[in-house]
């Protein structure tokens, strides 16, 4: 299995993703430089990592969406290639129009850096088929702009199509405001596109792939094939 990790100026979870994919899962992994177009056809998975691409200038992801590698990523996704955007990667995929909605300032204005629980809302996607429907995962978050928003029509569509993949929840899987760390609409922690080959999420699965690091709940999400 071959996986790619995009590197923007200001990415800071690229090495975490690289480590998880190479050292934990044993994949061949390439870093993909933001300023080069490339053929991604050989990759089973391309990760758009977390961080602060281009310093989050203007809005998180606003500049990154125009990087040359994004044209390659768009073509790869259009052919059905599997794309996972984590944190800033999620923001970038929304800005690029590869995922619906947008991520804006956390409702409490704080940068939230903590473990959270999320519930698997759709276990029938290529990313989540190794999880049980309704399974509760413990993953870290670290973001200031993680409040997922979209218009009402889009929200209805996401619900109807099963595109809401993860929701923030309590350790026992209950949905309540106390366990929604950023004020996301409908507790949304991750959404997929209509074809389910592009997934964006604020929590970091790549930082939760070994028990030594507190959780290995994220590991199955990165497994391909």
């Amino acid at each position: 299995m071959r996986a790619g990790v995009i590197v923007f100026p200001g990415s800071n979870c690229d090495r975490d993703a690289y480590f998880a994919l190479r050292d934990v899962l044993g994949y061949a992994v390439d870093f993909l430089w933001h300023d080069a177009a490339c053929d991604l056809g050989d990759y089973g998975l391309v990760v758009v990592p977390g961080g602060f691409s281009y310093g989050d200038y203007l809005r998180p992801g606003a500049i990154a969406r125009f990087a040359r590698v994004m044209d390659s990523l768009r073509a790869y996704a259009a052919r059905g290639g599997r794309v996972l955007g984590v944190c800033n990667g999620f923001q970038i995929l929304c800005e690029a129009g590869l995922l619906p909605g947008a991520l804006t300032r956390n409702i409490g204005l704080k940068f939230r850096c903590m473990p959270v629980h999320i519930r698997v809302e759709n276990a029938a996607t290529p990313f989540t088929r190794r999880y049980r429907q309704g399974e509760v995962l413990r993953l870290p978050i670290a973001h200031g702009d993680g409040r997922y928003v979209c218009d009402e029509a889009t929200l209805q569509q996401l619900r109807a199509n099963g595109q809401i993949i993860f929701r923030y929840c309590s350790p026992t899987g209950a949905l309540d405001a106390a366990h929604n760390p950023n004020g996301s609409v409908d507790h949304i922690a991750g959404v997929a596109n209509a074809q389910f080959n592009v997934l964006g999420m604020m929590p970091h699965p790549e930082r939760a792939c070994e028990l030594l690091l507190g959780s290995e709940d994220g590991r199955r999400l990165l497994e391909v094939g």
Binding site: A62, I107, V149
Partner: protein, 80 residues
């Protein structure tokens, strides 16, 4: 030389968390007449004199400067 002044704010339907905090802070300081605060961005863009500045600024806002999913914008163009 045409100068565009661009104002970008969150759509009214979206909660502006910063604006709400400032609204509360102003009330606590005794500004009891405050009914609402929206925080946004202000940009100045200088343009070459030729071409249609409005069309250019509109395109810039659509493509990069604002995110139409969550933001609204307005601008004025003046010679200065």
């Amino acid at each position: 030389m045409p100068k565009a002044r661009i104002y970008i704010t969150l759509k009214p339907s979206l909660l502006d968390a910063q604006g709400r905090v400032l609204e509360n802070a102003l009330r606590q300081l005794g500004f009891e007449t405050v009914q609402g605060v929206r925080v946004g961005k202000y940009l100045e863009v200088d343009l070459q004199p030729d071409g249609d500045p409005h069309a250019q600024i509109e395109a810039m806002c659509q493509k990069l400067l604002a995110n139409p999913v969550i933001e609204q914008y307005r601008y004025e163009v003046s010679d200065s």
